[in-house]
Amino acid sequence: MSAAQELPLEALEAGAPDRLSYWALVRVQFGKNRPAVWGLWSVVGLFVLATAAPLIAMDKPFLWIGEEGLESPLLGALFNRLIFENGVDIFFNLLLVLSPLYLLAAVALRRAGRFGVRGAGALVAAHLALTTLVVPETWFGLENPLHHEAPVVDYRARQVELEKAGEPATALFPPRRIHYRETDPERSVQPPGGSLWLGTDVEGRDVFVRMLYGTRISLTIGVVAVGIYVWIGVVLGALAGYLGGWWDVIISRLIEVMICIPSFFLILTLVALVEDRSIFQVMVIIGVTSWTGVARLVRAEFLQQRELEYALAARALGLPRWRVIFRHILPNALGPVLVSATFGVASAILIESSLAFLGLGDPSVPSWGETLNVGRLEMKYWLIFAPGLAIFFVVSVFNLVGEGLRDALDPKLRT
């Protein structure tokens, strides 16, 4: 980032502003906004933290030298669906294991000078495809060979056993030897202290570990929900703005009717009506109810851009309509969408934690809002402040980045 920042700045000082592309200018502007840069690095840090969670807290050792020689139970456990049943965890575990590979690929692409938005996008798409291959139990009825289940071994108990037997095993555990689902009735609602950095909840689960894995849930909720609604909003907004006529009328009315219904109200209704909801259903519900803002933005941009000369040129070339819309105009209309998507991530995270707080979340995932809900019922400060501050931190970091982007994209708005 820093190298990329300095280069355009030098170019600016050299008196060649016209050589900078729009996005390079945006990057320079963004780089000048210190809170926003700090926020961006915090977002990166959060993703790293979410990915590296099993290295910090997990009940399986990295290395185990026992009767069968050297093995790495943690590596196997990462993909064992009896230990990590959630798709979100599998996504991040895969990312953890493959991250060296991705880094190498990124470096190679960068050397070749081809690591731009497309290179990064290709890596993300590859990882998503891989995750969707691994996660489901069956593919259209056929058993998924990548779906991995293995008996769960309690290595901590085995270590104690072997020590008693006088032939201790060498084991290298992560700093916190505990899984986020692990309950312990004897340790219910313990205040922070000792090895329990943030205390325990009602079921005796370690709050620190749940918070750590909760980062994964929050980030995924934010990104996936926003991903869904940006898609819907962009497609509908582009159609309404570019095609006009009946398309515009129907889509605009649809937006107006949707806006009449407050979105949290709609989300709450839908979520309450789904039984045994999973975290993915919550994401989809947030996604399909929140697209109106993006659609309006994109529609307004398209109304403006379609009159410009480059759009006329594209049409005059006889390009098919979808190509004019999605390849020529859309890239120029994406700026405001990017800003609103960044704020959207923050608000999606807030919405999910509110739902979990009302007891309408997915009980099988370690959501921050759920810990807060327990804290409210028990009135214990560590169950409220820890997740409360975590939500606050993530949301404000995304808000900072969003503000930085908004100011960088449109300097007129800066006051």
Partner: protein, 371 residues
Amino acid sequence: MIEALLVTAALLAIASLAFLPHAVTRALGALFLSAVAFVFLRHVGGDLLAGLVCAAIGFVAWRFLPGAILRRVAFMVPSLVLLIGVTTWLMYLAPGNPFAQEKSIAPQVEAALRAQYGVPESPLAFFRVYMERLLGEGSLGPALKVKGRTVQEVLLPALPVSLGLGGLALVLAVGMGLLLGVRAGMRPNSWADHASMGLALVGISLPNFVIGAGLMIVLALQLGWLPVAGWGGFRHVWMPALTLALPHAATIARLARSGTIEVLQQDWIRTARAKGLTEARVVSRHALQVAVLPVVSYLGPAAAGILTGSFVVETLFGIPGMGQWFVKGAINRDYSIVLGTALFYCGLITSFNLVVDLLLAWLDPRTRQVA
């Protein structure tokens, strides 16, 4: 399938209202307005009297109300009907029903219950029963999960609670937001500006349940100044109202700040200053009226946010308001309660938005010509 088709058709019908000539939408708006009034009034004064009064209301509305309002009403009323339809459809799509219990009941018993409460097996039939009851008797029907009471009887005591809480929260939000924002905007980049904008960022990023729980622990449990939760006295209102208000106060502060900064750069402010007015008078008499325009247009979304925020805050503080009934109703599959609260919330929010638009038109002559 048929439901999806009907919903699409209704949507298209509402959309096509936009193509009708002005005179027609005007008349439709007045008609809908008097129809709504009729449904409410016929219980008070009988059919004939109510009919006459409503005809008069309709005529006066058609004759004297601005076209913009009538057009909005013409869209609002069918939209609310559509809302009832869509909510009904969704509720029937959802697994479970209000009469499903842990031990299965005999089909005859269920059929009897369904007949007694007016909840047929199909969403379309339910919609018809519901609309007939709503239009014919002006009644929201019996509550399915609260024995022996109608939805009105359940929700009416909750109404002043929610409205009072929401109103106080809105006043607090506007008051605090304007105070902070205008002061910050008068001296941009001063320490007061940075401090209040930092505070605003915190307010926007903190979810209301965290604020609420934090206030509870600090103000109630540690300091003991206010009661922890519950509803009843004057002292119970403050914490939930503050909780609801803070995020919106933060947004209002930002809007007021940028509004003030922009306005203070205008020529007519320089003129006012050149006349030798004090800075306080320049701001309060000349700048504020324009600087608050973005704040006024935010009032609609703020009211919606405060009302929906009350779902969380009412649950947190154990307040017997509408929000709690909505959450309970949705979880218990109490169809009538869900529909009743949904109607109430959407009706309230759309009418509030209408009022805000009128207010905006009154404050800002520039928007008047469009309407």
